[in-house]
Amino acid sequence: MALRKISPKKSAAKEAHGRDRRARAQAARKGSALAWLREAVEIPGVSGHEEALACWFAGVATQLGAEVRMNRLGSCVAERRGKGAPRGPRPRVLISAHADSIGLVVTHITPGGFLRVAPIGGVDARILPGQDVWVHGRQTLPGMFGSIPPHFQSGGPPKPFELDELFVDIGLAGPAARRAVSVGDLVSYRSPLTEMAGGRVYGRAMDNRASVVAALLALEQVARLNPAVDLLVAATTMEEVGRICVGGMTTAHIERPDYAITLDVTHGEMPGVEEPHAYKLGGGPALCVGPHIHPAMFKALVETAEREKIPYQVEPAPASTGTEVGDIQTAGEGIPSAVVSIPLRYMHSAVETLCLADLEKVARLLARFVVRLERGVTRGED
């Protein structure tokens, strides 16, 4: 996890040669939300194992002209200095998006070669039977969660399967399975990003690669607008595990921004999931309001959205917002913070669904908000 081990320049050079690099640079210039999203969700990036994703993020951010650095717990920060003297003074604004995603880890290999697994993050066991996965063993292998056909089930009323009844089948017998996979290897969902009708897409790990991509799109726009703001865009780690969001917390501590905006996904409306807990796909960014959010930040976000005619939705959060903002807000001497969310259906499944247009709207709002922060925000009470 040390910086030298994941030097973004080195990895970018390794990955991209010749035509590839040119194509990549072109894609980067175009700032294609879909192309970036497709690349970002393909990288497993299970919590605690975000290196490859950090390298990808660093590569794109570098091409957008930012300076990148990696911190000790794996979060990657891209900095773009604003206009004016090299050292400021300018407001430092952090846009953070957690880069990790939920997944599973192999805990046992049965004599028959089936894998028993444990969750990393909030895995929903209800979606696992019949679910396709990648098993990141010696090589990455396709696998699937076995399901018991109705024909073989014992009598009595069926109950939901518990994770410890389930297993991953990689089609290898015991000895071969043990050569290919070890206890501790990671498992991620297998579900290629797929375009649907209505400009929507589904895939795995949209929570929270969609936000990582939106943050990069915002960085690209801020580079064009060139405000007198030092912008820090962070792909943070380990948000999905534990009560404390370790990556966001440490990044805020190291970077000490003047203002922070956390990007995450929120629940999209669907039958059984209605307001006040759900937001419209395609309805634009959801803006959190509540104790974890600095009221002046929220107000300035709303004003920016209205001035720029960007549709938005208000997401009341009476306590935790379910994002890492709580641990950013309370870093150091306290940081005025806000949360901007992308509505997403079927969270923590392998078919998380969102509307691409929301990514663009979020990016535009953020870029304009960063410009707005040139003037800073205050409570307006004093």
Binding site: G112, G122, G130, P142, G171, V273, Y346
Partner: protein, 359 residues
Amino acid sequence: MARNSGFPWALFEALSNARGVTGDEGPVRKILKDFLKPHVDSMEVDAMGSILVQKKGKTAGARILLGAHMDEVGFMVMKIEKSGLFRVAKVGGLDDRMLAGKRVRVGPGAAPGVLGAKAPHLLKAEDKAKIVKLEDMTVDVGASTEAEARKIASPGDTATFESTFESWGPSLVRGKAFDDRVGCAILAALVAGPSPVDFVAVFTTQEEIGLRGARVAAQKFEPDVAVALEGTGAADTPSKRSEALGAFPRLGDGPVLTRRDSSTITDREIFALFEEAAGKAGIRWQEKRPGIGGTDAGEFHRARSGARSISLSVPCRYIHSPAALAARSDIEAALELARAALSPLGRVKRPAGPRLEKS
């Protein structure tokens, strides 16, 4: 180790990828008809949509009927919500517990969609102890209005699981609808190759909702002896039930012969005939766990005055789910065993009536 039975792998792949939910078997039928055409003198499609082929062999013998069903389990669109989401119902036997979060293809244009379920964050404690029923799920194709959704599918259209055929290492294959496209591919191979005896091949419809195509096909031909070629569930995965009852059939242990399932009690002489044919050809075979599942043999054996019937199957893990897993060697061996049984099947005597002398 690898046998070379001439099994048509490319055909099997195309059949597995094709979409053919019960009652909507058209795409599968088309692939089979195109494959069979150069190999048969005549072919007909009956009122149920089954393909019927009369294969000429070297000799005529007993009236043999070989069948495999074209349909697969899946979904039917029941209603379009104002939100552009589809309500769907099961077609065939599906366990609610493996539906949430699965990828599907919807309607005649195979639009990509998902079977969405509520995020775990939003569940109340009592919800977690409950199974999410299909009736509480919706299929999301990205449409946000009823009109947009209607362009993709209408009530009555079908949806399938989304899975693409693939090889898992050198010995396994994995894909959708192995139950019973594997039987269809075996039967197509039998039709395409030389046969020692005449037989009738029927590629049936509507097996998954009650063996309905098979009934009509068998009634038409009134066979003396009938064989259902199937993809059957393998039970070699970890479960309490397998520990108690034995973990068979197993992938890689050869084709499966059924003594009894919920649809048929296999004729003992026919079972012995297959046993002997396997022995002579050096084909390892295995027993099906008795009593489980049913096949088209159920209708074959009671059609008109009755036929002596058996099911010959390929063991497949995870049938009736988004994708199944099968061993190449089992598929090749099932085709070989079917082929080896043809001559002896031609010699089966038509019983004059109930074998009263034995009772």
